[in-house]
Amino acid sequence: MNKNKRIQSNIKPTADIHIDRAIASICALFTFILLWLTHDAIGFTRDEGYYFKAARLYWGYFEAIGTHLTHFEPWHIFTKSEIDQHWSYNHEHPVLVKSLFAMSYGILHNVSGLLNEATAIRLPAWIFSACSAYWLYHLSRIKLSKTLAVSAVLLWVSMPRVFWHMHLACFDIPVCAMHIFLVLTFWRVLNRQQPWWMFAVAFGLGATVKHNILVAPFVLLFFAVRHRYVFFYLKRPFESLKCMPKMWWGLITISPLIFLAHWPYLWPNPLGRIAYYLGFHLSHEHYPISYFGDLLVAPPFPILFPFVMSAVTIPIPTLLMICCGLSVALWSMFTHRRSTSQYGYAKRQRAFESLLWLNGLFPFLLIALPNSPIFGGTKHWMNGLPFWIVFALIGLQYVLQNRKLHVVVTLCAIGAQIFAVTEVHPYGLSYYNTFVGFERGAAEIGLQRTFWGYETRALMHHVSAHEQKYWVFGDTNTDDMLAYYRSGLIDKKLKLKWKPHSTHHSFVQPQGEFKELFLDMLDHYPTTGFHDWTHIHGVPLAVYGERPLQ
């Protein structure tokens, strides 16, 4: 097939494009509305506390812009003092998402009063979730029917832990969305459906969300060389560079500019501050995690950690589909390797499959490295999951030729996931599958039950019932407590203590790194003082205890 034919074969009829856009938009809208309707029961997580504070501080900069412009002093916006005043906080993460949190907070809460603070700040994260659904549909459509593409979106959105993360004002789902967008753009650019610079823009935007994506270009370059989209000669590296397609040059020129431009904190000292940013994540602290009864606190961590955790937190039907997709891909790789021409349709389809599994695999491999920081959560390789879902459905399409059967199988898998979500919401982070006996089985074998201290939300009414200011809140931090206070869930600003024996009211997560606090509570509080708890099917997530004043 010559080059022109190759390009033509990728172009869909305009009507089809419009239908796809419409369906993808409906998926996105559905996701957004679903998140809005279900977010209220989820408490504020530890990191959200920081981002709520960041949003308020960063909004100050946008207000300052307005002030300086009205005073005809625009240069003040760029002064180090002005920048550091507003952007110094939480400068270990890029600020695209946090800036959106800030603007949403400022416009929808602070200025107009349309939404409460938490809803306003979480809203941009839901938009990213909706975008993930939109882009995943389009990515799926490269090789799947419309029905299966919608199934891919539903499988993604209804995965219990993913669904839970989608609610939060954090970066984990936004980076998943940007990873899908990057791969989709990459494929489209390779196939001349989009201009070359779009790839650089996609990567630049991805990098402004979270550092997880910084490794992606290396994976994509490996893919491009492997599938001969880029030719690289080890003996003639300079010639190879000269022949390098523009999209790669864009990556090292346009993307860094986008990154630099989006983050005012970098402007006074770009190199020094970028070095700090990268250094911070290269030597990130380890967050302890319960793993089969032991608490992992320092490397070397088990290499199988992300794979085992995925095997027990992805619903079984979906996991089976992923395994099926993998088997089909392996079979196809060995049986059809030499049967098609270099630029044939089948060749390109197999290339797409390898693009999927490469992007699905690398987030897992990064965490699997024995010295990678263990942050604990499955969220750290969650950006690999959308690619595995598409991969799973491609496998299904190979195995079952009957389209009606596709629908039945995917509906069953989606149904099982939705049922699981309804069972665990709003504690979706505690979800485990049948392999370990769900949440109770996981607790019994000593797997982490929860993270981030959001479980205390349902117990907040106890705070207003007492006058004391000194409380222990385990994993729920001061910024979360301030957010609860501002949102009216508690009636006073609390002073947080660390050890239960130092106060008379404690909320503690009786597991993982907070187990010691709970043990302290057992030592110093009478068992008649354990008044309330949050639990999931009898597995305690947070316990509220009172000890009598002496």
């Binding site: 009864g293 320092a298 099982a416 000593g446 068992t527 354990f530 708890w533 316990v543």
Partner: protein
Amino acid sequence: MIVASIASIRCRLKHRDLAPTDADIQTAQTILAQSCQSVSANETIPLTTFPSFSLTPLIQSPIDVPFLPSDGLEKIKTLQHNQYCVWVEQDGQTAFQHFYEQHPEYEREILVDTHTVDVFLLRKQEPIRSFSFRTQFSQAAVRRVPTKMYHVKRQPLVPITCPYKKNKFDCRGKGFSKLPKKQRRKENWKQVQLGRKHVTTNGWPVIEMSSDHEYDTEITFPIPNSKDLQELKKLVIQYGFVRGQYTFPQSPTRISVFIDDQLAKTIEEEPTFDFKEIQIPWIATSKTLRLIISSADKKPQHFAFDAFLVGPSS
């Protein structure tokens, strides 16, 4: 995959029913309050739960009971109490049955039999008398004894006597309070503490004491002169290393047990997350028990133990 989906939903429905219902909890708690009240300060009836993560009976518990997680009980051979109240949820039945079979010296009586919760009373067939060294903690003497004469900076090393305050012996030394806050936090391991620690997945009441390459840590318990103690035949030491958020040192820890200044037993253990037990014959006339912890590692090992004497009840 269709079968997997249906099975998945079915299993989840079953899983939902494993948690005790509110009505059953209330019934079981009422009986607990009646049957598991401690007889006296010396004769308490601890409550334990199967599965070990369950805290259900503690929430809005009508009585104050000493609570012992069952994963700790499963790890040890010698049980200290004559009676245990056992709260068994549906998915804890197998583990409880196994535990019961491991302790044929106990007979069980069912107190509550509801659909989702059973409550048993385990009673020792031949009652025992025990003497816990944890209850004598405040009477003990704790010292840090130098392992060598001089510090690397050629300062002579002297033994440090640790004063007692609120369930702790403070071995951090005189200059401690002048140290900066961060440094002070690093020195906290030098306290010998009584309390529940993370030596098993769900914690266990122990005494935590650590040593380093410069100092051994030594604790000496005086034995009261009491007729009650004369029939106690066995010293039981249950020990492990506190996991918390610590990383364990590479070198082994040596635990030396002295009874009346005579070395009774020495063991070397690699610090790992495990809880073990040793038994040593006890002579009724013994006056002191001393434990010395030593290690060649700079890092503290967060050793923790529980020790008690046990024998037949007269």
